[in-house]
């Protein structure tokens, strides 16, 4: 999964960052993005897009990435921002924030999906990038694990919704909980599945 990184390196780019987001679909919580810059000797065994990994495997790979990456950045957009600017814009904003959060300045970005972001560097949007690029796959793991931990922490504050299990995604038990208890301050009020219960 190094072909995109190798091609960028051959073009002369030195600091290549993979960017991916997690949490576009949930009814609650922030959307979280990560940007990851990997060294060329990064041990990539087992790294694939986060959705294909078991939670335990994901945690172990997260530990490996944060330990061995050159740089990792995280950015997020809160539910209020999602409600104001819509989830797509919020998602892109969280990606920009993740890139700005890196302590190195990337000269090339590999971004999962079909949109590039507002950042002053050459960049490439790769559809299904989290399955094709090791840097994007690593970013998807960091974004997902970070977001999952945030939602498990929110579960301590808003315990009625089962957030620790579904992480805010629209499962049946989440929807039942909203119907029973109403919405919390971290629900996305503009979303279908939430706005009916305001």
């Amino acid at each position: 999964m190094w072909s995109y990184e190798e091609k960028a390196a051959l073009s002369g780019f030195l600091t290549i960052a993979g960017v991916d987001e997690a949490g576009r679909g949930p009814l609650a919580g922030p959307v979280v993005s990560a940007a990851v810059v990997l060294p060329v000797d990064f041990p990539s065994e087992g790294i694939t897009d986060s959705k294909k990994l078991s939670p335990g495997k994901r945690d172990r790979l997260y530990d490996r990435i944060v330990k061995k990456a050159i740089a990792v950045g995280v950015g997020m957009a809160e539910p209020e921002e999602i409600d104001t600017i819509n989830i797509l814009q919020a998602s892109l904003l969280s990606m920009e924030r993740a890139v700005h959060d890196l302590h190195v300045i990337p000269d090339y970005l590999l971004i999962d999906g079909i949109f590039t972001i507002s950042y002053d560097a050459p960049q490439e949007a790769i559809k299904k990038g989290d399955m094709l690029s090791i840097s994007i796959a690593s970013a998807s793991i960091v974004a997902k694990v970070t977001r999952d931990r945030i939602m498990k922490s929110y579960d301590l504050i808003y315990p009625d919704y089962g957030l620790a299990g579904h992480k805010g995604y629209p499962t049946k038990n989440h929807k039942d909980a909203i119907a029973a208890f109403g919405v919390s301050p971290i629900h996305r009020k503009s979303f279908k599945g939430v706005k009916e219960y305001l």
Binding site: P30, V66, V74, V142, T146, S153, L156, I157
Partner: protein, 124 residues
Amino acid sequence: MLNIRQLFGKSGESLALSYLKKKGYRILETNYRNKMGEIDIIALDKDVIVFVEVKTRQSTFFSHPKEAVTVTKQVTMSRVAQAWLKSRNKNDSKARFDVVAILSDNNTHEIELIKNAFDLRSGT
């Protein structure tokens, strides 16, 4: 060298704000900064002004988050808090320092509020 703590640090503030609001605190200000330093959250708990430090950790390997407010930080917060009280003309108000400690790793998730975590400190 990656600072693992930082990755969770940003969301820690949002979590801390949600937690304090749920506890009935009224949030006055976040990230108050002056040339002496910074206070994460300034809030009102009934009639007491509370200066809150948010500590986040992704593992207990080095220390539990509630142990992390160093003396230096306490002195800084004390100075910044006094400056804030003076600037808002609230020198006579009751005030205290709280810590919100957030621990989040593979297995554990905890949020703890430590009220009156330390006393006002004047440094040398």
